[in-house]
Every structure is written in C-alpha cells, then in structure tokens.
Symmetry: C2
Subunit: 231 residues, 2 copies
C-alpha cells in the first residue's frame, strides 16, 4: 500500500508543477514578486505581516491567505493600515473541501484565487500558507522565493526534524524573540542546527510584539519587490 | 486534478482503516491502552512525556515516536527515568521514505513498528505523532483515545483554523501555561473557542517547565491504563 501511495503522490506533484508554471507566467506578465510564507501553526506569520504592512511604503502589496477553515487571518490583514492609511487587497483560500482539510496550498488552489486579486496593480504578493512544517515545502505554487517564520517557542531541534522545510527557504524569520528570557531555548544552538541543514541561509530576528526586526523584514520584502520592477 | 486527488486520498483512508483494525486487534490481545498524542511542531509533547514518565508508578508504559527525520525525541524518552529508576521501551518511526516526508503517522507505519515493542509487558502505549495540526487527525492507527497538546504560544484562534484536530480528541493539554504572563493570549477566549468546536472536551493546564498539571496528566493516563486492565 505504501509503495502505491508514494507513486500517486509523485503524480500529484508533477501535475502541481505544471500548474505552478502557469501561475509563474501570470506573475511574470503582471511584473510581480511572489513570496511563499510558511511556518508551524501559530508561529506568527499573520502578526508579522500586519506589522510590516504598517511600514511598507512605496510597495504595492497583496496577500493571499491559506487556511484549512476560517477567514480570521484575511480579516486581520484587511484591517491593517499601510503608512498612508490604506488597506492591502487580500483573498482567502480554504483547503477544507479536500478530505478533512488539505494541510498545504497547492498550485491549483492558488490559481483558483488569482482572479480575486488585482495583480496588475501590485508589486508584491505574499502567500501565507497553511500552518504546517512538512507538506507546504513540497508544493511549489509559482512563487519567486520561499520564506518561513520559526517561533523560538518551538525548540532548537526543529531543523533536523523538518529538514525539507528549513532547506527550502531563502529566509528564516526567527520570531517571538521577545520571549527568549522566559524560555529554555539556546539561540546559538538553533542557528548552528539551521546552518547545518541550510548553510548560509539568511535570518532576521523578529518580534511582532516589540517591533524588533520588522524594519529588516520590510527592507527584505521591498528589495525583492524592486528587483522585480527593475527586471 | 483536485477531484481525482480527493478520490485517491479517500481510498488511502479506507485502506488505512483496515490496517488500523488489525492494530486494534493486536492491542486488545495484549490488553493494552493506546493513546495517539498529537500537536503542532514544538508544542511540547516530548517534554510532557518526559515529565510524566518520572511520575508514572505502577503503569508499564511504552512509547512509539513519529518524526519525519531524526531520533532526538526517542533518545530523550529512552533517557527519562521512571520513579523506580527504570526506563520505558521506545521505538522510532521516521516518515521520510514517503515523498519528502509524510506529515502524519498512518496505521501501516505503526503496524511496522509494533514488533519493536514488548506489547505483552505493557499496560499503556503512547504514540507521539508527527507535529502537525491537520493530517494526523485524519488517520486512525488503532488507538483507544486521541489527545493533543496545545501550546498557549499558538494563539486563541487555532480551534477554528484546525477544527478536525480539536474535534478529534478527548483531552487537550493546554501547555506552556507558565508563559501566560508574557503573552497576549486570552485563555478564556481560547477555552470558549475550544468548547465551540468540541463541547465539553476535557482540558488540563500543563507546564513541563514548572511541573504544573503533570500529576493530572499522569492520573488521566493511569486511569486509562487501569480501565484496560480491568476490562
């Protein structure tokens, strides 16, 4: 049974990549940079996005929210104010029509949501994936770059336990850094473990609560967006 | 494509249930209670098990560890001391032979690991599932009861975002409760959300760091194990 299952899932991944290429074509035509943002449940993706929206001047951002059920995150993003007092366009994908709820976004789900967003009027699209450290890393959705939020409450060993995720990304936001004094968490050990799995990967220490690192995350996003405009 | 995929996965679930029944038969013959313990990555399943092993007298416990890669958790469990100074038998399942790493244990993986454990000499088997709030709730493995560890660092909204998981369990360990003073986390709101999704579900507030609630978790496990012995 197990052997058959793996074969089926590889077929799914092939089909996914074909649709991801179609998404990629649409993003290129719209001249837009797309970030696939991943993490465990509750690591703080939405809170960081809310914080960065408040600082992201001169970059036209859109957000695509992925959740098994619910629209809480999309509502939070829609309610956040940009520096000029505006709002960012947001669309929600719910994965629950798949049996019991798909644990990741795939290229087809993203494709089905694209008509809900004004791509031609955006510089940057952040896709907030379903909270999960395994399967989201296996499904490309047509993004330019993959980033993840890691919460320091999750423990130093996670790069070794979920290596595909930590290896798939170009940026790790080391979040809830304000909690360090209250945790038995060895930041140096985590960074060493991370570097073992993904040598030289960029990291930013962040806290949506204190605002630490939000400016650096903003600059990272803005640089990515400008690269696309300049290209 | 999506429709086809869902059909395949339902077939997988049917096959899984057949194997789960076979596991169930083996557990019944060994007169053993089996707990399927689930959570997000880093919510604290292993730390709570380590703490409870130190207090679990008179119950012969075994542990089955599920991870994508690595044996860190199994080594931690194997190193924990029971009140009489002994150790508990532990086996490790790695799910990474599946494409990129399966995000959950299934009944067949558990079945393949059972010969590694002395079931006839145990009263209680705890299966620590892969850290993930979606798919582990969809795959029965032959367990008597499902429980989850929820970390208060994950936010109040999680029962609405991962309803299948919160609905599937008979016990929610509300963990890292020692961090409450340092978080913007409304415990009453979380408990209300949880009760909306799974009315009347039992909860225990726990902290592996301070030891809060570990005795209550021990009593819950011991009662489950004795029920099986008495039956």
């Amino acid at each position: 049974m197990h052997r058959t299952k793996v074969k089926v899932l590889e077929g799914v991944l092939d089909a996914n990549d074909t649709i991801a290429q179609a998404n990629r074509g649409d993003f290129d035509r719209a001249n837009i940079t797309v970030v696939n943002l991943m993490s465990s449940p509750g690591a703080g993706k939405t809170s960081l996005l809310e914080a960065v929206i408040g600082q992201l001047d001169g970059v036209r951002l859109g957000v695509l929210e992925g959740d098994v059920q619910g629209t809480q995150d999309a509502e939070r993003i829609a309610g956040a104010h940009t520096p000029s007092g505006g709002h960012v366009p947001v669309a929600q994908i719910n994965t629950d029509p798949g049996f019991g709820g798909e644990c990741h976004l795939d290229a087809n789900m993203v494709r089905s949501a694209l008509p809900s967003l004004p791509l031609d009027q955006l510089d940057l699209l952040v896709i907030e994936n379903v909270g999960n450290l395994v399967c989201p890393a296996e499904f490309r959705v047509g993004e330019d770059v993959r980033a993840m939020v890691f919460s320091v409450t999750e423990g130093e060993d996670k790069p070794f336990k979920y290596p595909l995720m930590f290896r798939a990304v170009e940026l790790v936001l080391v979040n809830k850094i304000d909690l360090l004094p209250h945790l038995d968490f060895d930041l140096d050990e985590f960074l060493t473990n991370l570097d073992d799995v993904n040598p030289g990967v960029e990291t930013i220490h962040t806290s949506a609560k204190t605002g630490e690192g939000v400016d650096a995350f903003r600059d990272w996003l803005a640089t990515r967006a400008r690269r696309s405009v300049a290209a």
